[in-house]
């Protein structure tokens, strides 16, 4: 749920990285923190267990001047992938503006990818929201591993909804694809925001599916 402070000329957006356990959500944020210039990024916070698994969420604030005349603040969150933390995942989804679903490309992870994707949709329903109404991207991570499903198979499993999401391949551990994913979802979120306010933008008159194709 975007928040605009007209006094400070700030617009705040919340982006959540969702996905099954160990799919690379935290790694995405770590790599972004590494890549981003100092004047753009804030402190990265990780609430992890002693085994370095996400317990509550990871958080990385970024800022941009992409919307002219305003400072756009993006708050990036991950959710804990483990099944027992579903309540926490629901909490983190509060007021989400954009989503990145990080899927694990390994064959043996197909079932948990689908379970996590269904869980995302169920959790959104608790806020009376639907995935189709929120800008989101499917990121197929771990493309460097040997035992991976083809991207078209992952698309078949995860991209059969009414709105076709944009898909991005990534090797998050090497930083490949993480910046592209973030830039694309942020652009989609800002375009939706501008459209909602009936103001012109580069993608102002396009349908959501067309926006996704543009990336």
């Amino acid at each position: 749920m975007s928040f605009v402070n007209l006094g400070k000329k700030e617009i705040n957006f919340k982006i959540v990285y969702y996905g099954p356990p160990l799919s690379g959500k935290t790694t995405n944020l770590e790599q972004l923190h590494e890549i981003m210039p100092d004047d753009v990024k804030g402190k990265m916070t990780m609430l992890s267990t002693q085994q370095d698994r996400t317990l509550y969420f990871d958080f990385l604030p970024l800022q941009s001047s992409a919307i002219k005349g305003f400072v756009s603040r993006f708050q990036l969150y991950t959710v804990p992938g483990q099944q027992i933390y579903n309540q926490t995942r629901k909490i983190v989804l509060t007021g989400v503006d954009g989503l990145v679903f990080v899927a694990d490309s390994q064959w043996e992870m197909m079932e948990v990818n689908v379970e996590s994707f269904e869980n995302l949709q169920e959790n959104l329903k608790t806020y009376n929201r639907a995935l189709e109404d929120i800008p989101y991207i499917l990121q197929f991570n771990k493309r460097d591993l040997p035992n991976i499903a083809p991207s078209h198979y992952l698309e078949f499993l995860l991209n059969g909804g009414p709105v076709k999401a944009l898909c991005k391949e990534a090797v998050a551990v090497k930083g490949k694809g993480v910046n592209d994913t973030l830039n694309t979802v942020c652009k989609m979120v800002m375009t939706q925001f501008i459209e909602a306010h009936n103001m012109p933008s580069d993608g102002g008159n396009k349908e959501p599916a067309d926006r996704a194709k543009d990336g």
Binding site: M1, S2, V4, P37, G42, F59, S64, Y77, V96, N179
Partner: protein
């Protein structure tokens, strides 16, 4: 999801209420965030890059506490107090928002609680007036919203990779 906006006037009123609270309660900093972790106003003795993180953690902490309340049959817990050796944190919900006070040993939690209650009453009408997107950047025709993609969303270092 359209989100919501606060006008310059509302922003000014919130900032005044928070700075008054900080002075009266002798607090180091006072923050107001929403339940999604957005910092909507703050008053601090010194600016800090940790402010967005404080809002995110406070909202998360409060949401977790609300779930705990539900599990034990309470409708909600409306305040949280973390006592530190030198610095403490007091959080209280005000409507759907969260008021957070950071204070040191120069004051007491009782005093903070007293002034937070008083400030809450002043803040409620201001917060109630924030309704959806009735106040939006689109109303300000001098500043039409437009995406500037000339240097990447996050500057030259944040350009999309091929």
């Amino acid at each position: 999801m359209p989100g919501y906006a606060i006008s310059e006037e509302q922003s000014e009123k919130l900032n005044t209420a928070l700075s008054d609270l900080a002075v009266q309660a002798e607090a180091d900093a006072v923050f107001m965030s929403d339940c999604g972790g957005n910092m909507i106003a703050h008053f601090a003795q010194s600016e800090s890059s940790a402010i967005p993180t404080i809002a995110a953690l406070a909202a998360g902490s409060f949401a977790a506490t609300r779930e705990l309340a539900t599990l034990i049959g309470e409708p909600t817990f409306h305040l949280i107090y973390h006592q530190g050796k030198e610095t403490s944190i007091y959080m209280q919900s005000v409507l759907d928002f969260l008021l957070l006070v950071i204070f040191g040993r120069s004051t007491t939690v009782g005093l903070v609680k007293l002034y937070v209650e008083k400030a809450s009453k002043e803040l409620e009408p201001i917060l109630k007036a924030i309704d959806g997107i009735s106040e939006t950047p689109a109303k300000d025709s001098a500043h039409p919203l437009e995406l500037d993609q000339s240097s990447g969303i996050f500057g030259p270092g944040g350009q999309p990779t091929a």
